[in-house]
Structures are given as C-alpha cells and as structure tokens.
C-alpha cells in the first residue's frame, strides 16, 4: 500500500494515576504495525492489552514513550484509527444503515454518498438487507459485524479491535474470524487485534505478540502465516488440523503458561 505509513509504538509505558500498586500497566512496549499486517496481542487479563490499544486509539495518554502514525505523533482519538469494541457500542436510536454511516455523517458527507458507502460496507460484512433494522434487535454476532462495518466505512488506516469476538459463542466467533480475514484481504487494512483466545490468535495473526502481566510487557513475538493461508483460499478446517498449526498453538499455550500459572481462559 503506497499511502500507508507505519504505526510505531516506541518504548511505551503506562502507569495509571492513583492506582494503588507501583506496577506499571504497561512497561516498555515497542511494536510496529506495517502495511498489510494483522498483529494480534495475546495474553491473560490484566497484562495491559486494552491499555496498549487505548493508547494507540488515543483514549489514554502514555506515561513514557511515543506512538506515531507515519510522521504524526498520536495525541488523541482520530478517524484514521478505527476502533471496534467488545461491547458493540452502537447507537440504538439509529438504524443499522445510519450507524454504519455515522462516521461519514460526522465528516459532513452528503446523505446519498454516505448511504451508498454504508450499503457497500454492509454487503461486505454479509449484512445486505439489514439496513433498516433496529440494532438492538440483532444478535450479538450481527451487532459486532455492524460495529466492524461502522469502523470500516470511515476508511481508517488502522483497525484496532479489543477482544471483538470475546462475547460471542464459539460457532459465531469462528465465522467472525473468517469474515475478518476476508475483509483484511479485500481492504488491505492493517489490523491490531487483542484477544485472550489462543487458537484465535494463532489462526489470525501475521505477527503474534505474547504479553505477560505485572508489569504488562511483551515476552515473545512470532511471525505466522495461517491467516494468510486462509485469505489465499485454503479452508479453515484444513489449516486448523494442519500439524504445524497444532504445534504452534501448543507452543503458544506452553509459553502463556510458562509466564504465569494462568487460570484457565481468563
């Protein structure tokens, strides 16, 4: 992508004011998200995943370090960084179409233009025909797709996703993972996705970042290719039953347990 500067997280530390412990929520984390990459941060709760994402999104100010997108320092939220939340965070007084068109409306795009764009993105997330639905009548998976469409419609340079599928049932979650890979392939967007689901992380990531708590830090980085294989057309079942996939998953599992005796799943 020619018009796609790298997102660089440079020696980032975050310490919340007034939090009792001396421990930093995030300590000396460096990371890059290059064009075309799908970076996944994986770790148990409390290891600073959300803090990392919030700092990149501009919701939280770093205590030390800096975050840059191209030649610009990040110092607040901005439309070039789209965010998808775990709870969909949709606006219930708007229908599906208007929710997706919301970012374009804020920018002052004319009605027909933003609606055409919203329709196109809704079709991309397999929600064509749901334009006029009320968002609170949709299932969790569909709401999450509307949230994804809303972020994509604004055409951000980076997509930030904080445990976007964490509240979904296992079946819907797999569908959403596959949808995300297809969208990533079609749009060429860079993605930072946060999860505590090991299989999800290994399946999706081009760059997998393992994190560990107290203080929150990166303990290992892996370059993976399973997501690219899916995007290139290989069926998910065949990838997930590939011995290489299983071995990687077990390796990550061991690493996560080695860094902390994690209680299952948290």
């Amino acid at each position: 992508m020619p018009n796609s500067p790298s997102l660089i997280v440079d020696h980032l530390s975050i310490r919340y004011p007034g939090s009792g412990s001396n421990e930093a929520a995030l300590h000396d984390v460096s990371l890059r998200i290059d064009a075309d990459n799908l970076v996944v941060a994986l770790g148990p709760s409390g290891c600073g995943k959300t803090s990392l994402l919030n700092a990149i999104a501009g919701f939280v100010t770093p205590t030390f370090g800096r975050i840059t997108l191209g030649d610009r320092d990040i110092d607040g939220p901005g439309a070039e960084r789209g965010v998808v939340f775990q709870d969909d965070a949709l606006l219930p007084w708007l229908n599906v179409l208007d929710n997706v068109a919301f970012g374009l409306k804020l920018r002052g795009a004319p009605k027909h233009e933003r609606e055409a764009r919203a329709r196109a993105v809704l079709a991309q997330v397999d929600l064509a025909g749901f334009e006029q639905h009320r968002v609170w009548e949709l299932s969790g998976g569909m709401r999450q797709r509307v949230g994804l469409a809303r972020a994509l419609a604004a055409d951000p340079q980076v997509l930030l996703m904080d445990e976007p599928f964490g509240a979904l049932d296992a079946f819907t979650r797999e569908q959403m993972q596959e949808l995300l890979l297809r969208l990533w392939q079609q749009t060429g967007k860079r993605v930072l996705l946060i999860t505590h689901d090991i299989e999800e992380a290994v399946f999706l990531a081009t760059d997998l970042v393992l994190m560990s708590p107290r203080p929150g830090r990166i303990v290992e980085r892996l370059s993976l290719h399973f997501g690219r294989r899916y995007a290139a057309g290989e069926p998910a079942r065949s990838i997930k039953s590939d011995p290489q996939f299983i071995e990687t998953r077990e390796h990550v599992l061991r690493r996560v347990f080695a860094n902390r005796s994690v209680s299952a799943g948290s």
């Binding site: 439309a79 965010v83 219930p92 920018r107 009320r134 299952a264």
Partner: protein, 284 residues
C-alpha cells in the same frame, strides 16, 4: 478454555426451575393487572353509589355519583365561579404547559452542563440541591412578594418544581453514558459539539424523559396547591371556592378531574417514552 465456553458450562449447571416462571409471566401479567385494576375501580364506584343512594351519608359530605355527573354537565355548560369547567381546566393546563416548556428549555442544558463539566457542577449542583427539598408552597409567599399574585408567580412556582427533577435526571443520564459509545464516536472523528449533540444527548434521553415524568407529577401537585392560595381561575381555585360554600359535588368533581388529568399526563408521557426510546431496557 475461553470465557464463552466457561459460560456455556455455567448455563448447564444453573438450576432449571426459574425458567418456566420467566416464560409464563410476561404474557400473562399485563392483562391480568389491568383487569384487576378495572375491577377495583368498578367496585369502588359501586360502593360509592350504594352508600349514597341508601342515604347512609349525607350529600353534603359525599354526593352521589349521579349528582357529580349532573354537576359535570352544569359546570361544563353554565360554569362555576364565573368560568366553565373548560375555562378552569384551560387555565390550569396553560400554566403547567408553559412551566413545563420553560423548564425543559432551561433544565436540559443545565443538566448537560452539570453532567459534562466539573465547574458547572460545582456552581449549579449546590443551588439545585438547596432549593429542591423545600416544598414549593413554603417559598410561594416569597414569590408572591417578589412577583405579585398574577400568572407569573404561579407559573414560576410550577417551573421551579419541574426544573430540579429534569436537571438532575439529565445530569445523571449524561454521567451514565456508556464510555465506549463516546470513544467510538471520538475515533470516528467527532468534535466535542458533535459528541454532545449526537451521542451524549440522545443517550441521556431516557433519563431526561424520566425526569420530565417526575417533574410533571411534582408540577401538577404544586399547581393545584398554588391555585388554592391565589387565583381566580383554575381547577385548584374551583375546588377551593366550592369548599368554602360547601358545594361538595363541585369539590368531588374537581378532584376527579384533577386526578384524571394527572393520570392522562402520565400515560401520555409513558407512550412518548415508548415511542422516543424504544430501545430502553432492550440493550445489554
């Protein structure tokens, strides 16, 4: 391994007993309640009729339902104390509607300011909390000294009664806006004003409407009480002057009309709430 699988397990282990209740009640409850309420009203009316027709109570103390109905016709056509029932009603409604509009116009921005800014909260919160607990009739004399006994005093009194609940509910609504909604809008590029107008205010709408419902209830009681003290028209005035001349049927008629109006306002606002915020109670 993951939380959703864990929660699946929990669902399996929860005892199944509560489920049937939850399935049955939502459909059965509303109609049954309505029927019981109507039956209660019917029984009360029948008792009233029976006691008065049997002559157990003198009409001076409790006139019969027929007498009140007859009086309704008379006050509606001929009037009572130089004004028909409609004129009394109109005077009362004019006061409450004016006060309500003014209160919404000022209390919503004040509530927004309290909810959004620490400074505004520091200035306005103590003012509102100071006057809110005082019964309006306690400061009516002061308002009469300042503004006379004209319409302004009465409308001002009702306005003050409605203002506080709306301002406080609006502030609560603003403070309870889902932070991820705000963040979502910010990362779509919303400016501060866009955020307030297009995210915060609509999010607070359910609370604002609740505030209006509470305020209107308080305003209506204050109105009737204010008219008892100083007025030449209005439902409260009608009841008060009828009481002085022991015209009990007009007193009862007035009370019934006051109750009916309050009830209608409440129903209307509930309908408005269902129309404007149909998602209330449906999310999360």
């Amino acid at each position: 391994m993951t939380t959703s699988e864990l929660s699946l397990d929990e669902a399996i282990f929860t005892p199944p007993e509560p489920a049937p209740h939850q399935v049955v009640t939502p459909t059965a409850k509303p109609t049954t309640t309505l029927r019981i309420s109507l039956a209660t009203l019917g029984v009360l009316l029948a008792l009233w009729w029976a006691i008065t027709t049997a002559g157990l109570i003198q009409p001076l103390f409790l006139p019969s339902p027929q007498a009140v109905l007859a009086k309704l016709w008379l006050t509606a056509t001929k009037g009572y104390m130089d004004a028909t029932l409609w004129q009394h009603l109109g005077a009362s409604l004019f006061r409450i509607v004016t006060a309500l509009l003014a209160a919404v116009l000022f209390a919503v921005p004040v509530g927004l300011a309290i909810g959004l800014s620490r400074k505004a909260r520091g200035v306005l919160d103590p003012l509102i909390e100071f006057y809110r607990p005082i019964p309006p009739l306690a400061y009516l004399p002061l308002i009469v000294i300042w503004f006379g006994i004209g319409e302004l005093s009465k409308i001002l009194l009702i306005y003050l009664a409605i203002f506080a609940p709306i301002a406080i509910s609006t502030a609560t609504g603003v403070r309870n806006v889902d932070p991820s909604r705000v963040r979502a809008a910010q990362s779509l590029g919303a400016s501060r004003w866009q955020l307030i107008a297009q995210v915060v205010l609509p999010s607070a709408l359910p609370d604002i409407l609740t505030g209006i419902r509470i305020g209107l209830g308080a305003g209506w009681s204050t109105l009737v009480a204010a008219e008892l003290v100083a007025a030449t028209r209005g439902l409260g005035f009608m009841v008060q002057s009828a009481a002085q001349f022991l015209v009990t049927d007009v007193v009862v008629l007035g009370i019934v009309v006051i109750a009916l109006i309050a009830f209608t306002l409440e129903l209307g606002l509930r309908a408005l709430q269902r129309r404007l915020v149909p998602w209330q109670g449906q999310m999360h």
